[in-house]
Subunit: 345 residues, 4 copies
């Protein structure tokens, strides 16, 4: 039998970190993960303090972060559910200490300086080498690389929903890029993080919808890089929905040549034929946010105009699962040669 | 002093009809409107029966529909908040009896058979003449015609939000139509009507978002006709939001030649310089659904890409006010030579 | 090894029936359940037709109800997620055919005619015998009886939240019943069923709260019978919350003699010391609806006045799990000698 | 004709202050109010900066607070929508400068030290005199005093909903106080203020309900004082609803002697016969939060048990209107001899 993998989570009290922790706690191949907080001694000392919903479910201790603690526990795989600045700072040492890392922040996702500038990062020789080594952890596109990666940059939630819907068509070369691709995405509030702000106040969000970061959202670079698009070929517009979680992206493309509905359907099904966590909806049926909520699925549907060239794609993910923690577990499964669905079904 | 106008509302118990009734009841130029129901003798006999929120505010009687009643009350202006089939049936006689009509349904909005086919209408000599006479009641585009109209076809809610945002640019001829216009619209549930259905059940809508009627929504024809676009130049995709009311449309256009943000701003401000119910937001500020809720405003904002050609417009209306009842009152004001804001401010 | 139990669900397309089906599908001790619909040949033929969220997860067939089908499948245990009239009609034959039955409706919950009158039931010799045999399926109060029951009447959702919070105090005889017990309960909309009605329309529920069935809700009888209270000793008031699921009951009792917080806490912990699905919150911490959502827990907390006699209890359940399907599985586990948490953790 | 009253609002950027400002801006008897902010020079300089919904509606200036500014504008009536500490500090000087004051905070509501201790206030000779002078501004109970008051302590939102529902029965002496009065209240999130906190984060509130401040909410003292109840005769439990605004209180009383539904109804109608802003619902009809939303009404309904002694009251107010800003305007109307509905209808 396999040895039990030892994992640690830094940032278990954020939305993604907590979701991840819950997945790891019931993952059949793992020992109880080591849970760490960034706040040092001031923070909560158990997970239940931060999440009263855990009351009575066992008192998972939250330790202040320390390299010594990680070493003492013999941690093999470190999950970072931390702000990108923190991830940027910690990853080099973690790698040098021989741990594999799955980073849920945006710190190591972007290869080109033009894109990573949005995070305020400047390339250094050290980060250049690590960036080179980092694998963008979208299992449906890069499972082989992920298997052998030391550092997996877990994709952004919006980026996951947009890239997965577009990849089959982009790879098949059937899109007229000249006409531009539009990704109009809508996300629940947990995507904005747990920090209380004027923007996440209930009264600001309820009974409302707003667009934000038009032409300037950080996930744009991920979509461009992964699909090898030029900046002017894509518009990505995020919106804040009055729901706690879930993303729906409505994506508009123009086909270079007419295709039938059956051909588009085949293009998707062929591309994803081995993808455990993709569901293709038969046109005209379309996914809704509720369908993939609390699952690791990315649901994809489409509708084709009469001219057989204008194509509307709809893709949905749960931003905390396939858009964050679930995908991280899927990546861990790949990195350890386990079934991609282990701990997620 | 002016004579008091006599109005009637048929369909006062639907969402739009009720909203309209509330506006008419406090409009300074009107006698108490005659309220009628379509259900005949079986329906509620007062408005408070249908809307308990009115309890104690006076018992507005709801009368079964009859031409005699309309005649006895000397009704000058008839509002129809009825299904389009009913409007189609009643309008000819109402006009022939000398009443002016504002119809909130889709029955008389579309001039071309290609578009009105979506309502199942077949042209007849009688309807052709009336269609010819009917004025599409978007005050910002057709105030002169509305002033003299006998029959005003009050625009659809989605159509209002999309047409108003695009009209300045389309009229200025600055859009590259070849690249296509995308209108990605999101609406609250009252837009789907008061009828309880699986789709409007709270559990189906809450914590959800869904796209529907892709390439097939009835309001598409209105947008095409009013902006004189060809069918393949526009994609309009409606979505159902988990909120009671409000519409936000995110609209994507490609400018034929580069324009500065100031030029785009001027284009809007010039076009709407006399428009009482339009608010232009200075870029990069964008309207949100909450801002225009419970007002008759159409709020418009925009964001321009660095290339000065890719342009994202955001427009918001309250679907029951500027998207229905408020616009109907604005039309009534025009038809009677009153200030456009009368009864709406 | 144990033989695999064969189950069937009638009414799998309702909210409770669907929740139950999902639990049964992943229960480790069960064969795939036989799913049946009440609509006969007209209904959906797969579960995914009724619940598109299941798309791609396998096509579970929905069969029209027939005794022959149940017999052919060798069904041991029949779950009824049907209206009470249907349950009343089917249970006698199911029992006579040797199946055990867990009925999620109210049909067999009430022993006294005074209470069951609310369902329009009149006692007959046949139903009297069955009623006598039926066990009220609240595992924390009646696990022994449930183990040997042929017919389990699965409790109402409201009743579950109220009875569990009161039982320890009632059994300990510490309540001053003269002063009356108040149960002010609030429930999400799924408790009102899947039927679209004016009451469950999104626009009626959102941004709202309403009390209903004051002094007349069907679950009142269950609370009275199970706690052996007289009618005038309890007021139970349900409210409809603008959320999809979850119940919170705020319960007011007056202690006959002063007790300390520690004594009240002990009373609860002692009573529930073997209860796998009860969580007691240490005062002053109180449960919230979110904490038990999507779990089978009943969460209970309390706050004691300075006078040590006036006591406020707060209890929460997920109305579809501990309040319906989860409790049904818990009952099935007991009936088969399995761990109470099997298939629920 | 009457002279135009000059008003000022300090704290116009909070929820209540903003609601109040909107009411004052359209009140027919007032000059444009002077709007002031507490933040000094750092705060927003126009109301539209704080509330983008005002864009295009005129740029109402926000001035840093100063006594000189108030004097220069000749302010007659000062509204304080400030934290209670600030109100406590400013009111003495405002009064000494000859202004009348309506304070929306809790600073001057409570006469007895036992109750005001909850605000951390210690009596001083100066505050004692002012407290003595302060009038609790519930117009339905104290219109005469309010008319002549210099300092009106505008009631708490919860307190308004509870006191108004109980006052007729308490004043008639028909309640058996020995059995205790329970007020189980539920409020929308705007009642918790505009400050972003973990508690008001959208994700914490949505799909949730929670009880809080059990046996310890600040409004309890107001209810006790106004109804002349002893502490042990009342339990008041507030809950946080997942809606932006609105309060529903479910109140349980025991009548000393049996009364018929007609008698209870008469008791309410008689008591409130001149109350412009109270609506009594005929039993068994009950108010819902939606009914009084965006109005200044307090809606009251009831349901009586068969024993004619146990009585459930339901009362609803919009916490920002009848529970705050609307009531403040109603008080201003009284203080100036205007119709109570002026500026509110």
């Amino acid at each position: 039998m396999h040895a039990t993998l030892k994992t640690a989570v830094l940032g278990a009290t954020g939305y993604s970190g907590f979701e991840l922790t819950q997945l790891l706690l019931r993952h059949p191949q793992l020992a109880t993960p080591l849970l760490m907080r960034r706040e040092g001694d001031a923070g909560p000392s158990t997970l239940a303090e931060a999440f009263p919903a855990l009351a009575g479910n066992g008192q998972y201790a939250l330790h202040p972060f320390s390299w010594g603690k990680l070493h003492d526990h013999g941690v093999d795989l470190l999950f970072l559910a931390t702000p990108h600045e923190v991830s940027r700072m910690l990853v080099p040492e973690a790698i040098s200490r021989g741990m594999r890392v799955i980073d849920l922040s945006g710190a190591w996702r972007l290869k080109t300086p033009a894109h990573s500038a949005v995070y305020g990062f400047h390339g250094t020789p050290e980060t250049a080498a690590l960036l080179d080594q980092a694998v963008y952890g979208l299992p449906e596109l890069a499972s082989e690389k992920i298997r052998h990666a030391s550092l997996v940059a877990n994709p952004g939630c919006y980026a996951t929903s947009v890239i997965l819907a577009l990849a089959p068509l982009v790879c098949a070369g059937v899109i007229d890029r000249q006409k531009g691709i539009i990704a109009d995405s809508k996300s629940g509030v947990s995507g904005a993080g747990k920090e209380p702000t004027a923007k996440t106040h209930f009264v600001s969000v309820a009974d409302n919808l707003s667009a934000y970061s038009v032409f300037g959202h950080r996930h744009t670079g991920e979509i461009l890089e992964q699909l090898d698009l030029r900046s002017q070929e894509l518009i990505f517009t995020p919106h804040l929905l009055p729901i706690p979680r879930g993303i729906l992206s409505t994506i508009y493309v123009h086909l270079a040549k007419p295709m039938s509905t059956a051909e588009v359907d085949s293009c998707f099904r062929e591309f994803f034929k081995n993808a455990r966590w993709i569901r293709i909806f038969p046109s005209p049926q379309l996914p809704q946010i509720q369908f993939s909520l609390r699952t690791n699925y990315c649901d994809i549907g489409f509708s084709l105009a009469d001219d057989q060239q204008r194509l509307v794609l709809v893709s949905c993910v749960d931003n905390l699962l396939k858009g964050a923690a679930g995908q991280a577990v899927q990546n861990m499964n790949l990195m350890n040669g386990w079934n991609e669905a282990e701990g997620l079904a």
